[in-house]
């Protein structure tokens, strides 16, 4: 707890919590990052589930990287937002659930990326193995779960 009290009194936390624009700026950045992370995840996942089949699977790599950029934006803005109310957030069920879900979601997305890189679903071969499809469904589910629990942090 001492760590979270210290964090809450840090320069960053005070700027986010008490300046006029600190909190809204970080919230805005967090919404931008959210749309990028979840947007890229959904497009890649739906493609692996055979939607948008005109898009070749071996051209999806750039979308993973863009999603990664969105994730970095949200890790940074999320940390800034967390710091301003660290002692409250660390005891919020919705927040802890959200963080747990995001850890799982990142793990699944990394697994999918590694899987696509390795399996070389290349060229004209557009058939997706059912194992990959299960991963894609899981990915959509957990990222949606992250959005849902994230919004609920404001209520619980």
């Amino acid at each position: 707890m001492i760590f979270f009290e210290w964090l809450e009194s840090s320069f960053l936390a005070v700027w986010v919590g008490e300046s006029l624009w600190g909190y809204p700026i970080m919230l805005s950045a967090h919404a931008v990052g959210l749309s990028i992370v979840v947007g890229m995840a959904v497009v890649v996942d739906l493609r692996l589930l055979n939607a948008f089949s005109a898009i070749r699977i071996d051209s999806l790599g750039g979308l993973f990287k863009l999603g990664g950029l969105g994730f970095v934006i949200n890790a940074c803005s999320g940390f800034a937002l967390f710091s301003s109310q660290a002692t409250e957030f660390i005891e919020s069920t919705a927040f802890l659930l959200k963080i747990s879900i995001i850890i799982v979601a990142v793990f699944i997305s990394a697994l999918l990326y590694a899987h696509l890189e390795k399996s070389r679903l290349h060229g004209e071969d557009n058939t997706v193995p059912s194992r990959t499809k299960i991963l894609a469904w899981t990915s959509i589910t957990v990222w949606a779960g992250a959005v849902i629990t994230g919004r609920l942090v404001a209520y619980f």
Partner: protein, 161 residues
């Protein structure tokens, strides 16, 4: 406008939205999911118009447009619920007013894309650098839609009236 607002306020729907605990958070969640579909789809299409992701075929990338449109429709519907729940707050809010203007401009940019850029994409050679007007259209679209996102997020923080 004021007649419309006073008609909404106190109506059965208005009271239901305000007095049913789960309505607002559920609509907010759907609004964020719609946002992700809209911006996720558009980001890829617009960046492709600007010249990124050239590995993705220009005609193939446009199959993402229905995803973006479905995200927009989700947000249009949930947005109407917010408006019906608290019309005065939104009408007087500078963030909301500007957001609506930007959505209008983004719509016009979309029409411009459909009329002038889209027909020519069938002629685009694979991996060719996009034309200046295609790049401009993609850039304007991204600027407008991210503007819509930012203004929406700032509605609770900017003054009313």
């Amino acid at each position: 406008m004021m007649a419309l607002i006073s008609w909404i306020e106190g109506s059965a729907l208005n009271l239901w939205i305000l007095n049913t605990q789960w309505v607002w958070p559920v609509m907010e969640i759907l609004h964020f999911i719609g946002l992700s579909l809209l911006l996720g789809g558009l980001l890829i299409v617009d960046l492709r118009l600007i010249g990124c992701f050239r590995k993705i075929n220009i005609e193939a990338v446009q199959t993402l447009l229905p995803l973006a449109v479905s995200g927009f429709l989700i947000n249009f519907a949930t947005g109407i619920v917010f408006f019906l729940g608290d019309p005065m707050r939104y009408v007087l809010n500078v963030g909301f007013q500007l957001k609506m203007v930007l959505i209008g401009l983004a719509g016009m940019n979309m029409l411009w894309f459909i009329k002038t850029i889209q027909p020519s994409t069938t002629q685009w050679a694979p991996n060719r650098a996009p034309s200046g007007s295609a790049r401009a259209t993609g850039l304007i679209s991204l600027a407008l839609w991210f503007g819509v996102l930012l203004l929406g997020r700032l509605i609770p923080y900017v003054g009313s009236g």
